[in-house]
């Protein structure tokens, strides 16, 4: 390699290393294990006090507002978990009975999940259709 090119290699390397370092520190700060309620229950011991994202369907009629906190249950394949949402953002519009919720937070040894983040998605179209017994077919068949 010519000496002239060396400074570009060094300059680029500095940038790449800096970005890699930032990525690494951002990663350790915000990484979370993404589990369903069932998966979480299968390995409870290894997840206490770890940052978690847990998904499950909102159990109908369990959403209760207590001051600025919101309590509700989510379930996956029959496993139910109680959640207390203490986040500062308002609840998303899609959050309601039967919706699929993803909660960010920690799972306590008392079996309660404390969430600081909450996302929700309406039950998917596919499930709605399956429930209604309707299927679609290719046109003209």
């Amino acid at each position: 390699m010519k000496r002239k090119q060396l400074k570009f290699v060094v300059g680029s390397a500095v940038i790449v290393v800096t970005v890699a370092f930032l990525a690494f520190s951002g990663f350790t700060e915000s990484m979370a294990y993404f589990q369903t309620v069932t998966e979480l229950y299968a390995k409870k011991d290894s997840y206490y006090d770890k940052r978690l994202r847990v998904s499950g369907d909102v159990v109908p009629h369990t959403i209760v507002r207590e001051g600025t906190a919101v309590k509700f249950d989510i379930q996956h394949e029959g496993n139910t978990m109680s959640v207390t949402y203490i986040g500062t953002d308002p609840l998303p519009d899609t959050f309601r009975d039967y919706a699929t919720a993803v909660v960010d937070g920690k799972y306590g040894r008392d079996g309660l999940f404390t969430a600081t983040g909450l996302q929700a998605k309406c039950a998917s179209k596919y499930e709605k259709e399956a429930a209604a017994g309707a299927v679609t077919q290719n046109f003209g068949e």
Partner: protein
């Protein structure tokens, strides 16, 4: 009418396939007739897909709920413009729309370039039609918008069924920005097919000068303009409609549109190095290939259900096909690139770290680093789950906004810095003298303002740095306009404003570029404000007040109103600033009857200084009080203003240069030409 659409769609698949074969065979057999036939077929595909999408739109307008896609995405009461937007509101229709835009671009490109670039055009046609074939075939065989509603009867017999009414369009999408956001975003995504096709055609036909770059410069800018506008409109929609106080959340769907934009931005800059210095030829090929691949990948990401996202379409079977298309496209392009490496040798070498070309190189490097980080962060859940257990895999691991911000905020600020410095550096090597002349004053003033900002209470490091850079870059840009305009007005007698306008029109690429950069300065100003967002939540009854800094909100009325489409809880809030009444806000919480979906209607009091953002978050258990969430978001308005300036700058940069005015004296013209040569970017 459904049969017409269906038939046109089927025909378009056949014709697109024929167009590819005829074009390639025509090149091989040197048959002008076959090549022309391939071209005509491509126009035919445009006609077929147009027919198909027109018939789908018609079916929406006449409420034909025997069509499954329409039954799921529309209902009788839906206003006409939402019925039209529902055409691209779901998986099937949006893919058809994607394919249609591609055929529109293809037809335009063919009309514009057929005579000019005889050697490349058959390849361009073949490449564009390969994408066309993929999308029309997906629509015909996998996600067909013309499928009928069928009910499984007892005894296992399927019967056709026509529902009385449709399920309705998702209320979150019943919003004017959501009508125009997807088409604009798609115009961006699809638009990159054009420079991509020319790049492949240039390699295939061994026409590897910079013709393909010059030919597609405006097309690339069109696509870049639409993609950027689409992303910003998406942010605006999230801000106004989703009610969480922000406009960007690093959701996979947002990332999907950001990634191609980042690479395309790198490409837009690095092509200048190839045009001026004949360098970075391989690099540009790589960038445009990656841009288009990322566009397809983004489309794939939002539709396959691969990563969970709030906005993504439901899980569907199209993922595998998309992945196959990406793999084939990427490996084909890279193979071609490796095969043509000999034709892509650089004419020059980088010499100095402080030069125009090196600033472009660093711009490229960090844009790509940013894209790379976003890419890994987005697909990390998939990777971590698929990785073998001895590597710590098998578990889904996600990363949140802190990861994306940690990487991208410093990158963005460094880019802003380059925005101010890069355009003023000389090619090859900038002299110490020119550095002093160009940057001493702007840097000095920016630093002095920085000290001032610190004492004004800007104590967030990145926000502070970003604001200092904003001042620095504004000064360098302002100085360029001032210098150029003064030189003009001295020579021609024009007044200063005339001189600025003429200056810009005479070298649109350079000055349009400055305006784009200034748009970014304003965007950064808006983003910096995000560091100082505050919010408060309280249960508020009638007559009670919420106070935030100089603002006081007084709850005057809480009412429930019945509307045709929905029921709404509506709060009437008087807004006082420093004790003086300035306005009335009406935050609402709606409940849509047909879909059973509640939505919040945010009330926003927007000024250039800050936005007061009021969300009706819910009702307290006793029903007499409302839970109000109030955000104070400084400087948000500048994000949208910056977006508009950015768009204007892009449009100006696309204009052809105005020829020299006769008033200009010959001496001055020589002077100017030298100036232009020095600075043309």
């Amino acid at each position: 009418m459904a049969q017409v659409g269906q038939f046109a769609l089927a025909l378009s698949v056949v014709v697109a396939a024929y167009s590819i074969v005829a074009s390639l065979l025509g090149i091989r057999l040197k048959s002008d007739k076959l090549i022309a036939s391939g071209r005509n077929a491509a126009i035919g595909v445009f006609a077929c897909v147009t027919m198909s999408i027109v018939s789908l739109t018609y079916l929406f307008l006449i409420d034909d709920f025997s069509i499954n896609y329409i039954a799921e995405h529309s209902n009788r009461d839906l206003p006409v413009y939402f019925k039209i937007s529902a055409v691209w509101g779901g998986q099937e229709g949006s893919l058809l729309f994607w394919g249609w835009l591609l055929t529109v671009y293809s037809a335009l490109v063919i009309f514009q370039n057929w005579r000019k670039h005889t050697a490349m055009m058959p390849y361009v046609t073949a490449v564009l039609m390969s994408s066309g074939l993929f999308f029309t075939a997906m629509n015909l065989f996998v996600v067909n918008p013309f499928n009928q509603v069928v009910v499984l009867q007892p005894g296992g017999v399927n019967a056709l069924f026509v529902p009385q009414d449709g399920a309705g369009l998702n209320p979150l999408l019943q919003y004017i920005l959501m009508v125009i956001h997807p088409p604009i975003l798609y115009l961006g995504f699809v638009g990159f097919a054009v420079p991509f096709a020319f790049a492949i055609a240039a390699m295939a036909s061994r026409q590897l000068g910079d013709t393909w770059i010059r030919t597609t410069r405006r097309w690339t800018m069109v696509a870049w303009f639409f993609l950027g506008t689409g992303i910003l409109l998406g942010g605006k929609w999230a801000y106004v409609e989703l009610g969480w106080g922000g406009f960007w959340g690093w959701d996979p769907v947002e990332n999907a549109s950001l990634m191609p934009w980042l690479i395309a931005t790198a490409y837009l800059h690095s092509v200048m190095v190839q045009e001026k210095k004949g360098m970075m030829k391989v690099w540009n090929m790589v960038l445009i290939i990656l841009t288009y691949v990322m566009c397809i990948f983004g489309t794939f990401l939002t539709r396959s259900g691969l990563v969970s996202s709030v906005h993504a379409f439901a899980q569907s079977p199209i993922g595998g096909y998309f992945l196959a298309f990406i793999v084939v496209g990427l490996s084909g392009s890279l193979y071609l690139l490796l095969d043509r490496l000999n034709y892509l040798k650089s004419d020059n070498q980088m010499e100095s770290l402080v030069s125009r070309e090196s600033s472009f190189m660093f711009n490229n490097l960090i844009l790509l680093a940013s894209c790379f980080a976003v890419f890994w962060g987005t697909i990390f859940p998939v990777i971590s789950e698929a990785a073998p257990e001895w590597m710590g895999g098998g578990v889904k691991v996600t990363v949140g906004p802190p990861f994306f911000n940690r990487v991208n905020v410093p990158i963005a600020i460094f880019l802003l810095f380059l925005t101010g410095v890069g355009p003023l550096l000389a090619w090859r090597k900038a002299s110490t003298n020119s550095l002093k002349r160009n940057f001493l004053w702007p840097a000095g003033i920016a630093l002095a303002s920085g000290v001032g900002l610190f004492f004004l209470g800007v104590d967030h490091f990145y926000a502070w740095l970003s604001l200092v850079m904003c001042i620095f870059v504004s000064l360098t840009i302002g100085r360029e306009f001032y210098k150029g305009a003064r030189a003009r007005s001295v020579g021609s007698g024009e007044n200063f404003v005339e001189a600025v306008v003429n200056l810009t029109l005479r070298n649109t690429r350079r000055y349009g570029g400055y305006i784009v950069h200034f748009g970014f300065v304003l965007l950064f100003l808006g983003w910096s404000g995000q560091a100082f967002t505050t919010d408060t939540q309280s249960e508020t009854g009638i007559g009670e007040t919420i106070t935030m800094r100089q603002y006081t909100l007084r709850m005057d009325k809480l009412a429930i109103e019945e509307m045709p489409n929905y029921t709404t809880s509506k709060a009437t809030i008087s807004l006082f600033e420093n004790g003086e009444k300035v306005g009335v806000l009406y935050p609402e919480r709606r409940f849509y009857t047909s879909s059973g979906q509640p939505t919040t209607e945010v009330a926003i009091w927007s000024t250039l200084k800050e936005d007061l953002y009021v969300v009706f978050a819910g009702s307290a258990p006793d029903g007499k009080k409302a839970v109000m969430q109030v955000y104070l978001n400084p400087l948000v308005a500048w994000v949208w203003i910056g977006g508009i300036i950015l768009g204007l700058g892009t449009l100006i940069a696309m204009l052809p240069n105005k020829k020299s005015a006769p008033r200009t004296s010959p001496v001055n013209r020589v002077e100017e030409r030298r100036e232009v040569e020095q600075h043309t970017t």
